[in-house]
Symmetry: C2
Subunit: 305 residues, 2 copies
């Protein structure tokens, strides 16, 4: 692949930005990659491990002259960062982001984008429970989906270039409007995360079962929840506060369904339970066929952990 953007600026240097830098290098997509993070410690680590070609000490310096700027900060920090970089953006540049919600990010960022700069929101559906500048790896996006959420009147060439970037970093891409994106993600990501956080919090908080028992005996199912519930607290706080309506709607449906299953348990309705559990098996099968997860038992954790 030839160079897609002569200079790329990554604002925020966590798991996603780090993986983007490595994936762009792998495919030779950027002439120069410049990075910025708010924390001096993060910038120091990024310099030490050579995460980008150059690390700047302000966001404005990082975006100066950049052809593509990608905002990789928690959703709640997007507004302040956009305000800071707006005046320094080069005419004809593209600004994108990787936020997990899209309506709120568009409202936070779009007002700060000057005339002559393209704003093309995006969201790669990839991540791990690890965070920080050391957690990135070039393969994170391989075979995952990246959703591109163009705003009204977006420049088609600029949109296609962002799509090409993500494809060359290993992803599949789809386009979606912001509201549908936020609903789909409430189902596939935001509600599951809140539920996992809740269950892990409950286990931690029970008087009659000790924390040591919960930890020792977690292999019976609970440990799967703890992986998700170990995700970055700031990122997830911002997701819930900025995708409030869709998340609360899905949680409402979830509670309704949970109550129906609780009633089936209480009344001994084994047929209802068995039917329900049979149906959910088919979804797992679909995900494996779509190559979005491994069929190896226990995710292929292997016998030694």
């Amino acid at each position: 692949m030839s160079v897609l953007y002569d200079r790329v600026a990554l604002i925020g240097l966590g798991l996603i930005a780090g993986s983007m830098s490595l994936a762009m290098k792998r495919a030779g997509l950027a002439g120069e990659i410049v990075g910025y993070a708010r924390s001096a410690e993060t910038r120091e680590v990024a310099r030490e491990i050579g995460l980008c070609d150059r690390i700047e000490d302000t966001a404005a310096d990082a975006v100066r002259g950049a052809d593509l700027v990608v905002l990789c900060v928690p959703v709640g920090a997007m507004n302040a960062v956009a305000a800071e970089i707006g005046p320094a953006l080069k005419s004809g540049a593209t600004v994108s982001d990787v936020g997990s919600v899209k309506r709120a990010v568009i409202e936070a960022v779009a007002p700060h984008i000057p005339e002559g700069v393209h704003f093309i929101p995006a969201h790669p559906l990839a991540g791990t429970e690890h965070s920080g500048p050391r957690s990135g790896f070039a393969e994170l996006f391989d075979e995952r989906w990246c959703l591109i959420v163009p705003v009204d009147g977006a420049d088609e060439d600029a949109v296609e270039r962002v799509e090409t970037l993500w494809r060359e970093m290993g992803s599949n891409t789809d386009r979606m409007d912001a509201d549908h994106h936020d609903l789909v993600l409430a189902v596939t990501s935001h509600a599951p995360h809140l539920i996992a956080y809740t269950m892990v919090g409950v286990a931690d908080d029970l008087g009659r079962v000790t924390g040591s028992e919960v930890i020792k005996y977690s292999a019976a199912g609970f440990r799967d929840f703890t992986r998700i519930a170990a995700s970055d607290p700031t990122m997830w706080r911002d997701v819930f506060l900025n995708n409030k309506d869709a998340t609360l709607e899905i949680l409402g449906r979830f509670t309704e369904e949970l109550f129906a299953l609780q009633r089936a348990i209480r009344t001994g309705d084994g047929e209802h339970l068995h039917d329900y559990f049979t149906r959910t098996r088919a979804i797992r099968r679909g995900i494996i066929e779509a190559r979005q997860d491994t069929d190896a038992p226990d995710f292929g954790r292997g016998k030694r952990v």
Copy 2:
């Protein structure tokens, strides 16, 4: 290790029995392993792949002359199986089981155990989302915990022999009373499974998000839930029907906590959310330090699935 039991009978030939047979062979713990499954097809597969040394067509024939009989059937089938084998048990033999609930299994099985036969309930905290006679593997129990739940007046030598068996198959062992076991498992296993089943069912059932979208975009978190929700429907129906009180108690606590987090989202209480999400991270750390899960990102699923 020398032979612990001259003849072992495994009743039910799914994931756990298959893995036990392979783990016992690996360590040379049994002189002969005899198997029985209710389904003729399962018996046929077991014969074909050489899962046991001998497969019998009735449970009574399988247990005749056995020194150890392990009931590896769904919890709801324990009573009928125990009634069937009771008269055929050898004096001095030990009967054990691998059921996920213990109070109900003891009530179902104990009345059928004749004088002079030991009954030592047990529960290996290990499993995968796969089931059936082909799903077993010798390493399933390595470094996992097996809980031994002796009944009142249990013979100490017989208990220790069952503990030794599990240790030699790779497990750690602990002793626990039946009621505490059922509460601990409600937290670490039963409630998480019901919650995962519920969330996957909700995603399948939403009109405005298609099943294809749920599957394609599952890597954002949802796919972890689908693994658990792909577990054996009969086994899990029986678990919930037979550990009703503890499961409903934990689900009640879960709902209470979920409502508190929903309220924090609705009112925009970011501090409550951030504090909660920070606390749950520590539990994940404990599980990794206790070697009950891998620290590899995404369970080490790897870049190609």
